[in-house]
Symmetry: C3
Subunit: 262 residues, 3 copies
């Protein structure tokens, strides 16, 4: 038996309006066996970069063959292209505005096509909701087994925003907060490989940590700590509390990791 | 192979409480193959009219055979009837308080029944949660293939609230905002067919548009525009921003479309 | 045909971050046929007791064989154990911090195991997200048919917080509000069996009811009433309004039910 294909959704539509539901209706009308999974619909409205980061950090947890549909699309109706990117083990569908760029690059791009074939769009395409009229049909046709080549002509390029790497010097790495989650964890752009060697100190706002700990329980309740979180990124967290609230910091806040004398 | 039936859910339950999850448990207990899709659970509490509008605008995007379960039910436990409405290509289930009226009328009513047969309810029916005890079981039995006739006696009527049409005069159409979405778009009740002929101007609060544009990119970032949005209704939007916030307007705000001298 | 197993999710992750979606990706990677249903993800962050109450009140509505995955896990990364509890007709998976205690006890515990077998975890287990690395894989393997015995060694005990029973005296029951739902209903811990015999009065804040009514329609719009709600618990509600707002009360508020002279 062929496995039903998983279609994940990442948008900035929120869940209060019926937009996400409508998009699912379109997918299931074309690919009745598709398994639809919401990644998140709370990307800040039209914040392509945050959407791109979340997609990159999330896609790896889905099995081979997954189709990742993503729509954060301030340029809907303009000349920005609609694309699908087949990678080694999964496919991304969405606007060519950088939203797919990080994730696609991470998974090994095999082929990029423009979603130009009207046979795989809805009959009428609005100028305001390509999620429904262009992207959902494309993802659904892929889930139903249509080869990506049929969706449109091959492209040689797609938008790749620059990953917001931290500034790495010999003894000092300067990063910033790129996400704040529901628990108030301040998620930075610093990965393990960006750390200076040897003994280090982490500074963010008024907080200074002299170690990166490995569990929340290494500090007392309410206390702050630096830890590599579930995204594989350095986080500033408060045990059983919100670091964002405790420090009054949010996206963009600077974090410095320095080598210190032993 | 028979396709698994889709059951869509539209409620005012929100997602913070487990009510929606419980309702899905009941559906899957009766119809294990049903495909459940959330349309929205953020209808303002007990706002039947908004629920009715959203259901009407959303149902059309789902494939033939879909069962649309809707629960916005301030009269739960009273004498308001519980009904199912079979239309030409889909079925609606919910309280007979107007919630289903717009959508059912749009899709060609074939048969209306009262959900009176206790065999297709839960054994115990509470007086506060018919979504779980009456509507979900009915929708699930329909999804599992029970003919609508078995759910209860035929009714000749069902509640049909008046669609909030705009006031249309020869050279002037007066509508109002009926929805505000997550992006701050002010969605009005004005459809294309309500527009005066010829050159027109759109006025809402302090904003006046001399054209209805076709993409957001026709204006600069942050600027307001009038556009027919994805619901097929005239919207006032702000490119990459919130028209609701920019204008300080919301549901009920008056919009006027006038013919202007060329 | 074997029914696809239902996996329900109850967490404090919220829906804004991709954590819930990632968890589903892990489940579907292991058990592609699992039917995943969200119970709620809005348990207040790290509020194990509220999570335990909601799980206990919700699980019964799901069919036999359901696997209930629950993650409210302030002690992640510490020595608290990860467990699965097989009950007569369903299985619970989560941290051994009391979260599963009420629900498991309600459904007749058959076997408890510690999720210690690395074959049924992800290869790398983080210290911050056992929902993804430990609990989701365990639930998925159970859904895919792995016998619970294989997940790890049998335990003789699991954490069972004390259910917050009201104080019941001969003529006076003193309870408290344990949940406030989206409609502003004040849900108390008082069940029918806790009521004094005969004629009673219910007092909460400034409100006094001399009867427990059976439908919202027994009072005028906006008026307060006492009613046994859909959780099987005494609720203070406002018809077409919010009792929480009307009374300015929330979780922890005291409710007294007294026998009154006839």
């Amino acid at each position: 038996v062929k496995r039903a294909r998983i279609v994940t959704l990442l948008t900035d539509f929120g869940l209060s309006d019926p937009y996400v539901g409508i998009l699912k209706g379109v997918v299931l009308g074309i690919a009745p066996e598709a398994r639809i999974v919401d990644l998140t619909h709370d990307v800040p409205p039209q914040d392509v970069l945050t959407g791109a980061l979340l997609l990159e950090r999330s896609a790896r947890w889905f099995p081979e063959g997954t189709i990742h549909l993503a729509v954060v699309d301030p340029g809907v109706g303009s000349k920005r292209r609609a694309i699908a990117i087949a990678c080694r083990d999964r496919t991304f569908v969405g606007p060519d505005n950088g939203l797919l760029g990080f994730a696609a690059a991470r998974h090994g791009v095999v082929r990029v096509v423009e979603l130009a074939n009207p046979a795989f769009r809805l009959r009428e395409v609005s100028s305001t909701f390509h999620g429904r009229d262009v992207f959902a049909p494309a993802a659904a046709h892929l889930a139903a087994g249509v080869p990506i080549e049929r969706l449109g002509p091959r492209l040689r390029r797609f938008e790749r925003p620059r990953w917001p790497f931290p500034r790495v010097a010999a003894r000092r790495t300067t990063g910033r907060v790129v996400l704040v989650d529901r628990f108030g964890n301040l998620v930075t752009n610093v990965e393990r490989e960006h750390l200076p060697r040897g003994k280090i100190a982490v500074s963010i706002g008024p907080f200074r940590a002299t170690r990166i700990l490995s569990t929340y329980e290494d500090v007392a309740r309410g206390e702050l700590l630096a830890i590599f979180g579930s995204f594989g990124l350095l986080e500033i967290a408060a045990r059983d509390g919100s670091a964002a609230k405790a420090l009054g910091l949010g996206i963009g806040a600077k974090v410095v990791v320095e080598a210190v004398a032993r």
